[in-house]
């Protein structure tokens, strides 16, 4: 049975064209980019080329790009790095309640180390309340970090406006663009950001590679100390194949992004409509319009997400849930609670995230299968009484 893969927000397959560009750099051109012999120049040149591609894609200078091992490292680096570098200036950080754990738990860690953190609330659509932001700023505020789009409910945040406020107050501003880069336009000047996190495997690049954009002049302490790589901002022998692969993935994303976003939005909206129309007591989570082109997040009253996923899996469909039962906590997703869902609805959420290969036929199949699954589970549920 071919899998209908609808979990592209979790990870994507590496594009075969991306893998192809990586291959020569495993055992043909394997030189350490930092060495001085000619063999290493090949490695050095190709990573600098990838840096340029990525920089151009977001409107930055190559010097402003630091390669990392992924989105989580980029987030940790940005937040801890600025906190460390600006500790003398203040100890207050502002973020939102719906950040990815890579941001949220980094903030919690800093709270244990003398920092104060404000977690901005969001509205029912999952959009950060801008009016709360200005109120939260104090003379101690050194960093604002708000994600570009949420990974669970796809809500796109008013980053440009947040950036304006940050700039007005002279506060460093970071955004986690792991879910947006490669999918919707991301330009660091349009967004008014000083730091921006990217992860390769979210846009058909390889796993284990990412980047952090650091605007020229931004004060930041390295997360990984050591060698002179990346202009001393991130030590370690460069992951040459990974970096090249991500560069190629950026190139491909740029040429396909516009048409692909349009295509996915059409599929997405039809799929949402069908599910809401055919399955009772079902709600859409996240903003209906300001949402990632590929994100469909639905809550089914009275049943639990994991048991829906397992049933989908039996039919060859891969999706994800914000229910606690898929993680090591008992609480459902903090994002779903932040938008005001009851636990009954929060536990019953399923995220379908579309990708380049997703077809209308696949979604039609899911829409056909799903009502039966929901019905069966509801019949078994003591909470669903209708």
């Amino acid at each position: 049975m071919k899998t209908i893969y609808l979990d592209h927000a979790a990870t994507t397959a590496t594009d075969p064209k991306v893998l192809e560009t990586m291959l020569p750099y495993f055992h043909e051109h394997y030189g350490n980019p930092s060495s001085i012999y000619s063999m290493s120049r090949v490695s050095k040149n190709v990573i600098e080329n990838a840096r340029e591609i990525l920089a151009n894609a977001i409107g930055a200078a190559p010097r402003e790009i630091v390669f990392t091992s992924g989105g989580s490292e980029s987030d940790n680096f940005a937040i801890k790095g600025v906190a460390q570098a600006l500790r003398d200036k203040g100890n207050h950080i502002i973020t939102s309640q719906i950040e990815h754990h890579a941001v949220l738990y980094t903030c919690k860690f800093l709270e244990k180390n003398g920092f104060t953190v404000t977690y901005l609330p969001v509205d029912h659509d999952g959009i950060v309340k801008l009016n709360e932001l200005e109120k939260a700023i104090t003379p101690q505020t050194i960093l604002i970090t708000v994600m570009h789009a949420n990974n669970e409910i796809g809500a796109i945040q008013p980053i440009r406006q947040i950036g304006e406020i940050a700039r007005k107050h002279g506060i460093t501003f970071h955004t986690d663009a792991v879910q947006t880069f490669g999918h919707i336009p991301v330009n660091v000047d349009d967004l008014n950001v000083d730091l921006l996190s990217i992860s390769g495997h979210k846009f058909y690049g390889p796993k284990g590679v990412g980047a952090l954009y650091i605007r020229r002049g931004t004060k930041i302490t390295p997360l990984i100390h050591g060698g002179d790589q990346e202009h001393r901002r991130r030590a370690s022998t460069e992951n040459v194949p990974g970096i090249i692969g991500m560069g190629k993935a950026v190139e491909i994303a740029l040429t396909t992004m516009d048409s692909e976003a349009k295509r996915q939005i059409a599929l997405r909206d039809e799929f949402i409509k069908t599910l809401l129309d055919t399955i009772p007591d079902t709600i859409l989570n996240g903003h209906p319009v300001n949402r990632l082109p590929n994100n469909v997040n639905i809550s089914f009253e009275g049943i639990e997400g994991e048991s829906i996923l397992l049933n989908l899996d039996m039919e060859g469909i891969a999706a994800s849930t914000g229910s606690a039962c898929s993680s090591s906590s008992l609480e459902p997703s903090h994002v779903l609670l932040s938008i005001g869902l009851t636990h009954e609805f929060a536990h019953g959420s399923v995220r379908f995230s579309l990708g380049r290969n997703t077809t209308k036929e696949e979604l039609d199949y899911v829409a056909e299968i799903l009502p039966g699954i929901i019905k069966k589970l509801r019949a078994m549920s003591p909470l669903y009484k209708k």
Binding site: G302, I303, E304, G305, E306, S307, L310, M314, S323, A324, C325, S326, S327, S328, L330, E331, P332, T342, H343, E344, H347, A379, M380, S381, P382, L383, Y384
Partner: protein
């Protein structure tokens, strides 16, 4: 995630004894939606033997499978025998559960306890 055993998946796919019992001799209602699992267990008792059991469960795969297995284990047992069915017994009967899912087997044990307690109370009530 760590994998469910074949036995868990089999019970999840084909849960036994789903539903309610009209006029049950005992009901156990445990868990709460906050934690993501809720179970209702109904038992029918004749001459101190559990002759039927049915459940309704809101929860993950492990919650549903343990509910199903628990009903299978108790049917035919005396009340005293049923009281020896701990969460460990249920989990073992399912060839184990992933560590982060062990709490789900508590649900079944607690539901069983609650149902038996309810049975005793109803009995005391009748006698009184």
């Amino acid at each position: 995630m760590e994998q469910y055993s074949e036995k868990v998946m089999e019970h999840f796919r084909n849960p036994r004894n789903v539903g309610k019992i009209e006029n049950p001799d005992g009901i156990g209602h445990v868990g709460n939606p906050m934690c993501g699992d809720v179970m209702e267990l109904y038992i029918k008792v004749k001459d101190n033997v559990i002759v039927d059991a049915k459940f309704k469960t809101f929860g993950c795969g492990a919650a549903i499978a343990t509910s199903s297995m628990a009903t299978e284990l108790v049917i035919g047992k005396t009340i005293e025998e049923a009281q020896t069915i701990t969460n460990k017994v249920v989990a073992e009967a399912l060839d184990g559960l992933p560590p982060i899912k062990m709490h789900c087997s508590n649900l079944a044990e607690e539901a069983l306890e609650a149902a038996i307690k309810d049975y005793h109370e109803k009995l005391a009530h009748k006698k009184a």
